[in-house]
């Protein structure tokens, strides 16, 4: 049988194999190995030390603090994101492009700077420092500071996901609802919400992953008091610096599971609604 010529968009087999080989090597070294090594290190001494490490009181309190932080941050940013997307995507006004850039701003600020700004506002030497001390209110080195810093670094996720989605959907359906006498709230709940639910979930998912995993910003404002202002990523650092590698990797393994669950759910959402994908990067 005569050999068929390659199609114009086809690569020669050796090119294919070289590209695939390089990609696998790169992804293997950069992503697969680090991911595997976390679980290997965590279970190096068997499953029991792993369970022990994640159930000791300081670890449990870190898990609790991380969950509380996410439970405040994610709904806050979801509401903000919907609000911002409604204003930006369904209306025209001057300064719209600037507003979108400002909403995106936290993504281009170093997490350490994000933590620093709250220390400058609420810290001992900060703007409101003396007043807060007088009234015995703790923001920096306490839960409110951690929540604020987390809100800052996860600020754009939901808005950035929803704005292009809602812009693409246009305003026809909302206008139809309004022309039939629906109020603003009813229009949102009955017409807009069903159209954006998957996009919203996608944004919330990414927001949650970052909120639970944030390290830089939180490490600046938390004070890292064990058992008190210690989130899971910070706890990983503390244990690692104490050469408690099994402990550190055990908590890290929990965070890995969170990341993997996020990726799986994200993949499912991309199958359910292809339009939502690929906006994590702009």
């Amino acid at each position: 049988m005569a050999k068929r010529a390659l199609h114009a968009t086809e690569d020669a087999p050796w090119v294919r194999w070289t590209v695939l080989g390089l990609v696998c090597l790169f992804i293997g070294l950069m992503l697969v190995l680090p991911l595997t090594s976390v679980f290997v290190e965590a279970w190096r001494k068997g499953f029991d030390p792993f369970l022990e490490a994640i159930s000791e009181p300081d670890a449990l309190s870190a898990i609790k603090l991380t969950l509380i932080t996410a439970a405040i941050t994610v709904p806050f940013n979801a509401v903000f994101g919907v609000c911002a997307a409604w204003a930006v995507a369904k209306h025209n006004f001057r300064g719209k492009a600037l507003l979108i850039t400002l909403i995106d701003l936290p993504f281009s600020v170093s997490p350490v700077v994000a933590g620093l700004i709250y220390v400058l506002v609420f810290g001992l030497q900060g703007w409101f420092g003396p007043w807060l001390i007088d009234h015995d209110i703790h923001i920096v080195y306490a839960l409110p500071g951690i929540v604020l810093a987390t809100i800052f670094v996860t600020f754009p996720f939901v808005a950035r996901e929803l704005i292009p989605l809602m812009q693409a959907q246009g305003t026809d359906e909302e206008e139809a609802a309004v022309s039939m006498g629906a109020s603003g709230l009813k229009t949102f709940w009955r017409v807009t919400a069903p159209n954006i639910r998957w996009g919203l979930l996608y944004g919330v998912l990414l927001c949650n992953a970052r909120a639970m995993g944030e390290f830089g910003a939180v490490s600046v404002v938390s004070g890292k008091i064990r058992g008190e202002t210690d989130t899971m990523p910070l706890h990983v650092e503390i244990l690692y610096n104490e050469y408690n590698f099994v402990g550190a990797f055990s908590v890290a393994a929990l965070l890995c599971l969170l990341a993997l669950a996020t990726l799986v759910l994200k993949g499912l959402l991309e199958v359910i609604q292809p339009e939502v994908s690929g906006r994590a990067v702009r």
Partner: protein, 289 residues
């Protein structure tokens, strides 16, 4: 133009209210008000604090704090390692995106999901894991040591961490462009007598240019500010492997708020410039597209 005789008497003209309706879709005032308020309280005012704090210093003091020898070393290190990492991601990002869009192979879905891992994995986890892997007695490190390569606790380690962090950017910005690149362009090139290499070099890669630059700039910008994944593998020696964000935290721990703010202002300036550059690239690529 035909003027119409009014068939009905005109009513008194309506008064134009200050809050004249702009749009038929309701809720504009409320949602825009909330958005701007929250944005100001959470983002803009605190960011202004860092500028105001550093403005308390005289220009000379500011220069001494922001551009001390140690700080300058830190900036150069952060920019240099981010640049190298972005270049590495630029090369492998093209290959990965190409494989994901053009080839069918077993495990493609898995590979596709894995690419987003750096977005989902907490940076501290990536940091300790990479540090352990590439340290001299780690899985990869012990293979490199006999070759005389030291891949952890030095700038090489920083490049490795930043490559991890920036990996999705180039892949994910290239993918849609590559997918939309019509096959007929390549077919046209082939029908005009170009061989495969000529087609790729002269037709395909130029079309990917703007998207590649965007991905490169995003990866670079992310790398400059990165903290969590770097500090475990960097070694953190002043003048050698101490990145700029780390220097901020060190100054902060010593309660040197003005110094910390000065470095932060420089970094904010860099972020701002990067944001402008990225926007410019995107505006340019939209014009090209």
């Amino acid at each position: 133009m035909v003027t119409l005789a009014p068939e009905a008497p005109l009513l008194p003209a309506p008064r134009r209210s200050v809050l004249r309706r702009r749009s038929a879709v309701p809720g504009f005032g409320l949602t825009l008000g909330l958005t701007v308020t929250i944005l100001s309280l959470v983002v803009l005012i605190p960011l202004a604090a860092v500028v105001i704090q550093s403005a308390k210093l005289s220009p000379a003091e500011f220069a001494r704090a922001a551009f001390s020898e140690r700080a300058v070393h830190a900036y150069l290190l952060s920019f240099g390692t981010s640049f190298i990492a972005a270049v590495i991601n630029g090369v492998f990002g093209v290959l990965t995106a190409w494989a994901l869009v053009r080839y069918n192979f077993i495990g493609k879905t898995l590979l596709n999901g894995l690419v987003d891992l750096p977005f989902a994995l907490p940076t501290a986890v990536a940091g300790i894991s990479l540090a352990t892997l590439y340290s001299p007695n780690g899985w990869v490190g012990q293979l490199l040591t006999p070759l005389g390569i030291k891949a952890a606790y030095n700038p090489t380690g920083i490049v490795i961490a930043l490559t991890f962090i920036g990996l999705p950017f180039v892949v994910r910005t290239l993918e849609p462009v590559l997918r939309d690149l019509a096959a007929d362009v390549e077919e046209a090139s082939a029908s005009l007598g170009a061989n495969r290499l000529q087609t790729i070099v002269r037709v395909v890669l130029p079309a990917l240019g703007p998207a590649w630059l965007t991905g490169f700039a995003l990866a670079f910008a992310r790398g400059v500010g990165e903290y969590g994944s770097v500090i475990f593998i960097a070694g953190n020696r002043p003048f050698v492997s101490e990145i700029a964000p780390l220097l901020i935290t060190i100054q902060l721990q010593q309660f040197e708020l003005p110094a910390a703010s000065s470095i932060a202002v420089v970094m904010l300036g860099v972020s701002f410039v990067m944001l402008l550059v990225i926007n410019a690239i995107q505006a340019w690529s939209r014009r090209m597209g």
